[in-house]
């Protein structure tokens, strides 16, 4: 697992989500990246059941259960600013049993699907974020394999992102700022995805081209 940066690509003016994704993938292919299959990252939200809340009436915490096709045998469970648990796929079954403590939020499933490209030591994934039947945005994930310390290779990642994202290049993700010399892990990637999904959820629905 190398250092990964997850960001959102805004939909181009006057174009649909599909067309923007196509534009991006064409740029990548011109750059020389090789298509290597598809990927999928999904997220379900659970909130703590009312019965477990203390008498102080504290707000229920939200828990996100995520899967990543890059780690097919794992399941990630994380709180907003809290710890991340990496478990195997049986965790989903466990969540069913824990219905008393964690209840699934309605219509909360959000996922991103798309193609996976390999360019030298970079792994680029461009996906469409969908919530239910509607496409809500575009996610771009870039991973630089050889390096495991975020602070060492952020400049390099930035340069690479600029080469195909142009002006839509994001700033440094929040997870990078927290730990300077710690080894980067998959939990950090999932935290970035969680932030992205939350941001997209708060955004308005992407307008259909030509209609405002």
């Amino acid at each position: 697992m190398g250092v990964t940066c997850v960001s959102q690509m805004p939909v181009a003016e006057g174009k649909s989500v599909q067309q923007t994704v196509e534009l991006l993938t064409r740029k990548l292919e011109m750059l020389g990246a090789e298509k290597q299959g598809t990927f999928c990252v999904d997220c379900e939200t659970y909130h703590t059941a009312a019965s477990t809340l203390g008498s102080q009436g504290q707000a229920g915490k939200l828990m996100y259960v995520m899967h990543n096709s890059e780690y097919p045998l794992s399941c990630f469970a994380l709180f907003e600013n809290g710890p991340c648990l990496i478990a195997d796929t049986n965790f989903d079954v466990l969540m069913v049993k824990l219905k008393g403590f964690f209840q699934s939020a309605k219509a909360s499933k959000i996922e991103t699907r798309g193609t996976r490209y390999q360019y030298c030591d970079f792994l680029v994934k461009v996906g469409t974020v969908t919530m239910g039947p509607s496409a809500r945005g575009i996610s771009v994930e870039v991973e630089y394999g050889p390096c495991v310390v975020a602070s060492d290779c952020w400049n390099l990642l930035l340069e690479f992102l600029q080469s195909f994202l142009g002006s839509h290049t994001p700033g440094a993700p929040a997870v990078f700022g927290n730990r300077h010399d710690a080894v980067y892990g998959p939990a950090d990637t999932m935290a970035q995805y969680m932030e992205l999904f939350n941001k997209i959820r708060k955004q308005q629905q992407v307008p259909v081209a030509g209609i405002r």
Binding site: D121, G145, P146, V148, V149, C153, L156, E159, V183
Partner: protein, 372 residues
């Protein structure tokens, strides 16, 4: 040698057999002397003939006796044990298709060749050091005091000595840790971990570095059995390039008489920030050139003198020629990990003998590690 032979050989009988051979030789030469001298002067012809024949017969009898003695002793000596004369490599000699795959004879020749080369290189460097081309006379005096004793020059070094050298180097840099193991016989295998950036597997032959493989920090360096994997390349192209450079570096440093200086210089070149900057520079160029950098950009080793100390990075691009003053061209193309590569490039080092074979001052090239 002794432990192999004493299995079946009677050393006493061996020594006696050798002296029996000497006795036989002397009696045979006495026979010929007798023939050469001819008949001695006596009163009658018969007397002379009789004396001659008697003398001749005596000599022939003594030859016969010595020969019988030798045969008896040779039966006692016995055959030396033929089980695995050279351990596993001796099994190669049992190959029935010897003409098509003459592996064993080639192996022996390669071994003899490298030993002879080692010997000649030692002689050559000894001769060259006498005629130093250095400008200042002071340096020789100072370094002669610093070098306490002559380093051993043979390939066969006690493993303890190698361990000591490696542990000394291990303590040189805080971010670099060296783990030594000997899974395959006496040649050491080092796993050098540089901070959280990369791991280097260095295969050594006594104190000489044979090959290196550079891998990422998160890559697996062990095979399925748990042994150190010395053959598979890194999955990342960056580290494949760094491996090429490291191999160039180890071919660059050739000092037959001071192999531990060589190892130390090699390690200095692998210091952390140096590698990081070099890595990033390389990837930067990769992106710029879109994979067009193949054999056209063969790695050339820019000497450590090129390093800009204020920034701790290579002051030059990949294509810059070495300015270390070595006499040989290091544009090695197409690296594949096999022993032949090292052997090939050792040859020019002994041919194009240049004054730079005398020790460079590597300790003064220690990079400021705190700077990036």
């Amino acid at each position: 040698m002794a432990d192999v032979l004493s299995v079946g050989v009677n050393l006493e009988a061996f020594a006696q057999a050798i002296s029996a051979i000497q006795a036989l030789r002397s009696s045979v030469s006495r026979v010929f002397d007798c023939l050469k001298d001819g008949m001695r002067n006596k009163e009658t012809l018969e007397g002379r003939e009789k004396a001659f024949i008697a003398h001749f017969q005596d000599n022939l009898h003594s030859v016969n006796r010595d020969l019988n003695e030798l045969e008896r002793l040779s039966n006692l000596v016995g055959k030396p044990s033929e089980n695995h004369p050279l351990h596993n490599s001796g099994l190669l000699s049992l190959d029935p298709v010897q003409d098509k795959t003459p592996l064993y004879s080639q192996l022996l020749q390669a071994y003899k060749w490298s030993n002879k080369l080692q010997y000649h290189a030692g002689l050559a460097s000894g001769l060259l050091n006498q005629q130093s081309l250095k400008r200042s006379a002071n340096q020789m005096g100072v370094s002669a005091k610093r070098r306490p004793k002559a380093q051993p020059t043979t390939l066969v070094l006690p493993p303890q000595y190698v361990d000591d050298v490696i542990s000394r180097i291990d303590r040189m840099f805080p971010e670099m840790s060296i783990h030594l193991s000997r899974p395959n016989g006496t040649s050491a295998m080092l796993l050098v971990t540089l901070g959280k950036v990369l791991k280097v597997i260095v295969v050594m032959r006594s104190l000489f570095i044979d090959r290196t493989i550079v891998k990422g920090y998160n890559e697996n360096v062990y095979t399925e059995d748990g042994k150190l994997d010395i053959w598979s390349k890194s999955n990342y192209q960056v580290f494949q390039k760094v491996t090429d450079h490291a191999t160039t570096a180890l071919l660059h440093y050739q000092l037959p008489q001071m192999p531990d200086v060589v190892v130390r210089s090699f390690m200095v070149g692998r210091s952390l920030s140096f590698v990081l900057e070099e890595t990033n520079l390389r990837v930067h160029e990769h992106i710029q050139q879109r994979l067009s950098c193949s054999s056209a950009e063969a790695p050339k080793y820019s000497g450590l003198k090129n390093v800009d100390p204020s920034r701790g990075r290579l002051g030059g691009s990949v294509g810059e020629a070495s300015d270390f003053g070595s006499g040989h061209d290091l544009a090695v193309r197409g690296f594949e990990p096999h022993v032949g590569l090292c052997a090939d490039s050792l040859a020019p080092a002994s041919d194009s003998v240049s004054p730079s074979l005398s020790a460079p001052p590597p300790l003064t090239l220690c990079l400021p590690l705190s700077q990036k």
